[in-house]
């Protein structure tokens, strides 16, 4: 015992506080290492993209005073916390002195810091973190949350409008018109009808109708004209089958519709032939007409576009396909929330605003068809939000935030103009976003790459959402746990986990072998890229969707079953709505992975340079990361430090917007529950 006692005291004697402290600091340093390194690199790339090193201090000061200070002021006003205000002011002033001193010391005694001035260091090391902290504090109070909410709707709406413009550029509005009129409108009618009478057989036709719309929307006939027929495994002969596949899709659709129609007819004969049945028959007539027209479109794609003599203009198509349903929807929603009267007023208001506003836009030289898209995506949510805030009478001062920012930019521009302050030669400017690539750095642009990425991401979103949710629902709700079925389910599950770890470049080979050579979608086309990327992110989508579905409590399912719902009804009405925010968050995050992937795109033959954006999904395209890769082999320093940096920042901003959307969706759903 005595011996043991002795060793114990010596052991106590060697307890070292220092070792523990050092280890804690070391591990903290390790956790910060990667983050800080990335932060420094991001600062450098931002500085390069905006060419801030060449910016005169006066230029930086002007915008600091007109843009950043008012923004910080707004956040402090919102936070309404004297302590925070004092700390911020002290931090900004003290930081100024500290950065100036530290920079001076380093420059004098160590070495010059490449590519940075002390003003830039101050901006990124002090002002940006301070703004983030203040912004976070401000956003938690009503005024700030209103301000950021409005700002978010403006930015989100603008991005959405931009995306729509691009999509309509690729998928011709006339094709969209057919898809909408013949597919989506009947589908919506049938869907509305079947929600009121869920047992009606008509509800079966919704999916074929939407499918038809999809087929039509992909520019009739065109996508399927060069379907390869594989003769041997390693060789595919591309043959021209004008609309061949469209025809078979339409034929399949006709079979489904006529089967459903026969059942509906039987249903009508058995039951009383009241008005509901008449409506169902009417819907079928519509569906049949749609399918016939789709057949026309499939067999002879181009003529039908020419066939319709009085073709509506693009603007009219937008009014009919976007303004009308959106005003109906927003009016309806308002009517549900408030009164019928305000609902009608709001709906009519939206419609008039879109129609009149887009025509007025011609005055300032913006084409009505572009204007109506932006009006609908930006103005409608903004107006709705402002109305809501004004009704709630809380945080109304926050509505001035966008005005403050816009005014800051304008005042800054005026000051720069009047006093002749030297402007930096910003790489990431409007021409960069709207030009095609060029060998001259001043003219080189990112436009085809942006368009390509938007197309890719839209297609990938459609595919991966469908397949991801389908697989997740199957695994969580349908798949058996025991027996041979259970064994298969486990295999699928393990397989998904393994697929997530397959290198992306191998997916590229899969795309090359399967979609390019075997099926013949063509080298470097948007559809090949989208399918390859879909397979690449499918495991991630499935796993995140599974987690969201698993989080739905079993009591809800059992409640639904107890009321006599079938499995699909339970899934559709209970599980999916509850899991939707989680599923959407996961899907958007995995789309973020897809938009940055380059290796698979190289493997499936994305071309190095494309001067014009693709005009369809079977045309060769490029994408943002692909373009960055191509620029990386350029030796000109303007490309390396200017154009490439601008491309990287654009890509990262898009990623940031996507992730922000995902976070907003998640926070919303957490607040609601």
């Amino acid at each position: 015992m005595a011996v043991e006692h002795d060793t114990d005291t010596t052991a106590f004697g060697t307890v070292s506080r220092l070792r523990g402290k050092v280890f804690e600091k070391l591990s903290l340093g390790a956790s910060l290492f990667g983050i800080l390194m990335l932060a420094v690199l991001l600062v450098y790339v931002t500085v390069d993209a905006f060419n801030l090193t060449s910016a005169s201090p006066e230029w930086l000061l002007t915008y600091f005073l007109t843009l950043i200070i008012p923004f910080i002021g707004f956040c402090l006003y919102s936070a309404d916390d004297p302590d925070l205000t004092r700390q911020t002011v002290l931090g900004l002033l003290g930081g100024l002195g500290a950065v100036r001193l530290a920079f001076y010391l380093v420059e004098t005694f160590v070495r010059t810091i490449p590519g940075l001035t002390w003003q830039i260091v101050y901006l990124f090391a002090v002002v940006v973190p301070a703004t983030a902290v203040v912004g976070f504090a401000g956003s938690r109070e009503p005024v700030g949350s209103v301000g950021f909410g409005l700002l978010g709707r403006l930015i989100g709406g603008t991005s959405l409008g931009f995306m729509l413009v691009i999509l309509f550029f690729v998928f011709e509005p006339r094709a969209w018109f057919w898809a909408y009129t013949l597919g989506l409108v009947p589908a919506a009618l049938v869907l509305g009808y079947s929600t009121r009478r869920p047992k009606s057989p008509i509800s079966l036709t919704v999916i074929p109708l939407v499918l038809t719309a999809g087929v039509l929307a992909t520019r009739p006939g065109r996508p399927f004209t060069t379907i390869g027929i594989p003769t041997r495994l390693d060789q595919a002969v591309p043959v021209s089958l004008p609309g061949g596949v469209s025809v078979s899709v339409v034929a399949l659709y006709l079979v489904v519709v006529s089967a459903a129609a026969a059942m509906a007819f039987k249903y009508v004969l058995e039951r009383r032939t009241d008005r509901a049945s008449e409506a169902s028959v009417l819907a079928f007539v519509l569906a049949a007409a749609a399918s016939v027209a789709a057949g026309q479109a499939g067999v002879a794609p181009e003529p039908i576009l020419e066939f319709y003599a009085g073709y509506p203009t693009t603007w009219l198509i937008y009014v009919w396909t976007l303004a009308v349903p959106l005003s109906l929807a927003s009016g309806g929603l308002t009517a549900l929330r408030t009164s019928r009267r305000t609902g009608i007023g709001f709906g009519v208001g939206v419609f008039v605003l879109a129609v009149v506003g887009s025509q007025l836009a011609a005055v300032i030289d913006i084409s009505p068809k572009t204007a109506i898209l932006f009006l609908l995506t930006v103005l409608v949510p903004t107006v709705a939000y402002v109305r809501q805030v004004l009704d709630r009478r809380e945080g109304t001062p926050g509505l001035v935030l966008p005005v403050v920012l816009v005014a800051g930019v304008l005042v800054g521009a005026v000051i720069v103009d009047i006093w002749g302050v030297a402007r930096p030669d910003i790489w990431l400017d409007w021409p960069f976003l709207t030009n095609g690539p060029s060998s001259l750095p001043e003219q080189a642009g990112f436009y085809p790459a942006i368009v390509g990425s938007v197309i890719l991401i839209t297609l990938v979103a459609l595919f991966s959402f469908t397949f991801g949710v389908g697989t997740a629902v199957f695994l969580e709700e349908y798949a058996p746990d025991t027996g041979i079925g259970g064994f298969l389910t486990r295999i699928i599950q393990v397989n998904i986990a393994n697929l997530a770890a397959v290198p992306s470049v191998v997916y590229g080979l899969l795309g090359l072998g399967l979609f390019v050579n075997l099926i013949g979608f063509g080298l470097g086309t948007a559809i090949t890229g989208a399918l390859t990327l879909t397979l690449l992110i499918l495991p991630i989508t499935v796993i995140s969707a599974q987690e969201a579905i698993r989080a739905v409590p079993d009591s809800m399912r059992n409640g639904s079953y107890a009321m006599g719902a079938t499995r699909w009804q339970t899934t559709k009405n209970v599980v999916l709505p509850e899991a939707l925010p989680g599923v959407l968050t996961g899907t958007i995050l995995s789309l973020g992975r897809a938009i940055g992937e380059t290796a698979p795109l190289i493997m499936i033959g994305f071309p190095n340079t494309i001067y014009n954006p693709p005009a369809g999904i079977v045309e060769t395209t490029t994408a943002m990361p692909m373009q960055i890769y191509v620029w990386s082999s350029s030796v000109k320093s303007e490309f390396r430090y200017g154009i490439m940096a601008a491309g990287v920042v654009t890509l990262l901003v898009v990623l940031l917007l996507m992730n922000a959307t995902a976070i907003v969706i998640r926070n919303r759903s957490e607040q609601e529950t």
């Binding site: 070292s16 280890f23 804690e24 070391l26 591990s27 390790a30 956790s31 990667g34 983050i35 990335l38 490449p114 047992k199 057989p201 509800s203 079966l204 495994l233 390693d234 389908g470 199957f474 695994l475 798949a479 058996p480 699928i492 397989n495 986990a497 393994n498 697929l499 397959v502 470049v505 191998v506 997916y507 080979l509 899969l510 090359l512 072998g513 399967l514 080298l523 499918l538 495991p539 499935v542 006599g564 079938t566 499995r567 699909w568 973020g592 938009i595 940055g596 992937e597 380059t598 290796a599 190289i602 033959g605 990361p625 960055i628 890769y629 990386s632 490439m644 990287v648 890509l651 990623l655």
Partner: protein, 324 residues
């Protein structure tokens, strides 16, 4: 599907309802089958072209060849994988030297030391590291890291080099190591920690002497996953490492023991398996040629290696997990 319904149809299910159930059920089944088919398709695609490659080029020469020159420019076309393996190993090992210590320490900090508030800030920020597109990391390595290293530590470094590419790969896989390891450490029950404290151990001793050993299976499996990720990493090395498939010079050092100077490997260009694939696809997309098939053989190699590592990591995580 296989609802165990009683004979009495309490649900009053009609034919149409049952049809609907069946339709949607089979749609889901098809979706799930797509994931299985993907694996099969990957395997078949790679295998069919790899087989035709090995018909044209002996398997033994492929595995033991010391020269990689797939281009059809005059000289002999040689497809020896050894230089590519060396390049891949260099990147993998160097990045593991970055990611494993940092990732493990990060996991220890997050699971043992960080307050909930700090963890709530740090964890999403670490996830950002994994979310940055790899081509952007490659750009960082090429445009910022290499010049910075040239200006400070290694003036002899070439523009394209293995070191800065590997550093970036390492940083990219940090979150992979840290998040899986942290999950493993979080799964260690609190009783073990309390017992450690009860015996008079310090926090440092509990963290390193109790928690880490208890979570070692998860930690090791995270290492393997990270390494497998580094092996398959493409864009960072394509952009920043160059494409020179030469073996480093073996020097005769002290006592006649041959060695390779690390600088010859790290500060020079190199070529990984993934770079070789990208290079072939850049010059030859028509198909049917030997290099084209070689690309699939490399892909098959990569696929099999990562698959095996994945399975090993699963086995370690499952078998050596301490059960509490």
């Amino acid at each position: 599907m296989s609802d165990s319904q009683p004979e009495l149809d309490l649900q009053r299910t009609r034919g149409i309802e049952r049809l609907k159930e069946g339709t949607y059920g089979s749609f889901m089944l098809v979706c799930a089958a797509v994931t299985l088919l993907t694996t099969v398709a990957i395997f078949l695609t790679l295998l069919s072209d790899a087989i035709s490659f090995f018909q044209a080029y002996p398997f033994g020469d492929f595995l033991s060849g010391f020269e990689w020159s797939p281009n059809d420019t005059g000289g002999e076309q040689l497809f020896g994988i050894v230089p590519l393996l060396v390049g891949t190993l260099v990147v993998t090992i160097t990045s593991a030297f970055v990611a494993i210590p940092i990732g493990t320490l990060t996991a220890v900090y997050l699971s043992e030391y960080a307050s909930p508030r700090k963890r709530a800030i740090l964890k999403p920020m670490l996830e950002i590291l994994a979310g940055i597109p790899t081509v952007v990391y490659g750009y960082f390595a090429l445009v910022y890291i290499t010049p910075a290293l040239q200006a400070t530590l290694f003036p002899n470094m070439t523009t394209f080099n293995a070191l800065s590419a590997s550093l970036m790969v390492g940083i990219m896989v940090i979150p992979m190591v840290s998040s899986i390891s942290e999950d493993a450490m979080n799964a260690v029950p609190d009783e073990l920690r309390q017992a450690g404290y009860g015996l008079g151990a310090t926090k440092f001793e509990v963290s390193t002497g109790v928690v880490v050993p208890a979570a070692v299976s998860g930690i090791v499996s995270s290492y393997i996953l990270a390494i497998s990720r580094a092996i398959g990493e493409t864009m960072i090395v394509v952009v920043a490492m160059g494409s020179n498939a030469t073996l480093p010079e073996v020097q005769n050092g002290l006592l006649g023991i041959p060695f390779v100077h690390p600088g010859d490997v790290l500060l020079e260009q190199g070529m990984t398996i993934t770079v070789a694939m990208v290079q072939i696809v850049g010059s030859d997309l028509t198909g049917g040629t030997v290099p084209y098939d070689a690309m699939f053989a490399l892909g098959l190699f990569l696929f099999v290696v990562t698959l095996i590592m994945n399975v090993i990591s699963d086995i370690i995580a499952e078998r050596y997990r301490e059960e509490y």
